[in-house]
Symmetry: C2
Subunit: 136 residues, 2 copies
């Protein structure tokens, strides 16, 4: 199972998109909604910031999305968090002296690439706005 960071990121971005009173939107408040620690929130926000999804000013409560919810695909969020990371791990150093061992990694890469591709399409097809619509 993949970790819950993607879920937390979407939760945070949803809060930012729907909370009009910016002064209310502290890391502590967000942590209260997500049910985690404020530092965990600030850390995740730092990642999203680096990914170019939002801005903030140190010392001031509140965050601003840099991309409209309608234009913010879940794939963009995913990439901000995990980069181009592969989804499935491949065991390393299989025995090169064995016919299977020698080629299995490349073969698995092919399999996982097509799987990952299908996932990307789904994530690309959904935006933060779609999530917001479901929260109504």
């Amino acid at each position: 199972m993949v970790n819950s960071r993607f879920s937390v990121a979407i939760h945070i971005l949803s809060l930012i998109a729907t909370t009009s009173d910016k002064s209310q939107l502290t890391s502590e408040y967000i942590a209260g909604s997500v049910n985690t620690n404020p530092v965990v929130v600030r850390r995740m926000i730092g990642v999203l910031k680096k990914g170019g999804l939002l801005t903030s000013q140190s010392g001031i409560a509140g965050y601003d999305l840099l991309v409209e919810p309608n234009d913010l695909t879940l794939l963009a969020i995913y990439h901000a968090i995990d980069g181009p990371e592969q989804l499935f791990a491949i065991h390393d150093e299989p025995n090169p002296a064995c016919t299977v061992g020698r080629k299995i990694q490349r073969s698995l890469e092919g399999v996982y690439t097509s799987v990952w591709h299908a996932m990307e399409e789904q994530l690309q097809a959904q935006t933060l706005q779609d999530v917001l619509d479901q929260l109504r």
Copy 2:
């Protein structure tokens, strides 16, 4: 990132499918090809056995596939290992007093279901035989 068990399972099944000399096919030999411990192999094989993909006899080297490589989809392998497990974790107990917190879980489930669906299709479309063909 998801663990490497799926990769190891495909590796093991490939060996079983391609090794004609059954007496050679001990857990130690397989472990040598995968580059892990024989117990790890026997453990994984136990899982695949429970999933109905192969048989073995205690005390005797060698394993037999119960499904032809052509009919053994990667999805069937995946299910044998991970059951119906969700791919992405959802953080638990978001704050029900918050509009977002109250509904985010259900909303994320919807997102992940469609993603998982796309993955299933890909895994269903590929068989162990496809992997074997790439090992040539």
